[in-house]
């Protein structure tokens, strides 16, 4: 499973880096830093609290550049905060970046149609991004060893509150960007369209 993740991540990374032009690097980096900072926000939900993943949004805003951006954020988290580890970097990047790419592919075009409701698209991206990530995390646990399957189900259940918050917050973000800075959602690298 570790190997599969590493291979998939490496493949996606090659494509993403080929599409990433030098001109876009400062922009991708600033946004990737913004996502890194945003993911540190503690959002209360019910009696507990969650941290946002925002991978759906990253897909919408960054397109393919989301893959290296997510990898960089995970490397930083692993080296300086001790979250995650070195060897699971590949799997983790895959589990977060593939849903981001899917959101970009499925919802990006919808978002660019005139008269779309930004909130709805954003909420869908949040929902899709996090639920797919949860599913993939559970799957990678379950597939690597059947002994983990019960734990995988419990972890999947802990994603439920996150799902709600992520959908509302991402919806609010995209609705906001739609009104205030639509260029952030529309103009992406030439290579992405």
């Amino acid at each position: 499973m570790l190997l599969t993740g590493a291979v998939v991540t490496a493949g996606a990374l090659v494509v993403a880096l080929r599409r990433l032009e030098y001109e876009q690097i400062p922009r991708a980096a600033v946004l990737s830093a913004a996502f890194f900072v945003s993911s540190l926000i503690t959002v209360p939900v019910g009696p507990s609290s969650v941290h946002l993943v925002l991978n759906g949004l990253m897909g919408l805003v960054l397109g393919w550049a989301a893959v290296p951006a997510i990898l960089v954020a995970l490397v930083l988290q692993a080296a300086f905060f001790g979250f995650g580890g070195l060897l699971v970097l590949g799997v983790n990047t895959m589990n977060i970046a593939l849903p981001a790419l899917l959101c970009s592919a499925l919802l990006g075009a919808l978002l660019r149609r005139p008269g779309t409701n930004g909130f709805v698209i954003g909420a869908l991206a949040g929902l899709l991004g996090v639920s797919l990530t949860g599913l993939m995390v559970a799957l990678s646990l379950g597939l690597s060893d059947p002994a983990y399957s019960v734990a995988a189900k419990v972890i999947l259940a802990t994603y439920a509150p996150l799902l709600l918050v992520e959908a509302v917050v991402t919806g609010a973000i995209v609705g906001f960007l739609w009104r205030v800075a639509p260029e952030l959602l529309f103009v992406r690298g030439k290579a992405d369209d």
Partner: protein, 253 residues
């Protein structure tokens, strides 16, 4: 001014800061690679001991490191509590209809030791590096150039954006915003992040313009040329011997 996000907070000891950063990256990788292949408890304990020793010698702040490890434990708690019950084997403890097995307990202990050893070593060897140095060293280790550039730019802007975020958040607090579990709070956080993104984007346009002004043609030049010293070879040898000892212990079990 708020504290930079990405620092270990501890002044690094000379023996570690004098080492070639590439050696530190490779050593952390080798340690992680060796540790995941361990199953016997003595070998895992030895690995954890080595990681602990390195962390102590690196002068990591005990409180902060402990807090980070606890965050990791919190994350793995689900797995650790459930494993004894979900693995079939000789019974060890029964709670009502649930049976915990020895095998499951062993597996959970292995995971706990393994994960802590790897993370501790990672924090000791890499967490004490300057983030920019880590980026340069990765570049010297043939990590794709664009990725290294992205890494270096991201590192640079995380602290800038964190300051911006703190400012926006403070403005919200000044208006008596207290986050609660309701739609209003979630919307407000959404707008906060949206605003952060908008300002970041404007900033990135200015950065690109300023960099073009200075002749930026899409490359940063990695100026640091690391020199491998005899001391580095000695440390690499010692570290290799320690790893070999762990692996031999594993093979003997």
């Amino acid at each position: 001014m708020n504290r930079p996000l990405l620092t270990s907070g501890a002044p690094t000891r000379r023996w570690l800061s004098d080492r070639d950063p590439r050696l530190r990256i490779l050593a952390a990788l080798a340690f992680a690679g060796a540790t995941v292949s361990l199953f016997s408890l003595p070998a895992l304990l030895l690995a954890l001991g080595i990681a602990l020793g390195t962390a102590l010698a690196a002068g990591l702040s005990a409180r902060r490191t402990l807090r980070r490890l606890l965050a990791l434990e919190g994350f793995m708690l689900v797995l650790l509590i459930l494993l004894p019950f979900s693995v079939a084997g000789t019974p060890w403890l029964s709670l009502g209809p649930l049976q915990a097995s020895h095998e499951g307990l062993l597996l959970a202990t292995q995971i706990l030791l393994r994960a802590n050893a790897i993370v501790l070593m990672l924090l000791a060897l890499l967490g004490t590096l300057e983030p920019a140095t880590l980026g340069h060293a990765l570049g010297r280790l043939r990590v794709p150039e664009k990725l290294v550039h992205l890494f270096l730019f991201t590192v640079r802007y995380i602290d800038v954006l964190d300051a911006e975020f703190t400012r926006l958040r403070q403005a919200m607090r000044a208006r008596a915003f207290v986050p609660r579990s309701n739609r209003h709070s979630w919307n407000s956080f959404g707008w906060l992040i949206g605003m952060l993104l908008v300002r970041s984007l404007e900033r990135s346009e200015r950065i690109l313009a300023a960099m073009k002004c200075r002749g930026f043609d899409g490359r940063l030049y990695l100026l640091e040329d690391y020199r491998w010293r005899a001391q580095d070879s000695l440390h690499a040898l010692a570290f290799g011997l320690l790893l070999a000892a762990v692996l031999v212990l594993e093979a003997l079990q």
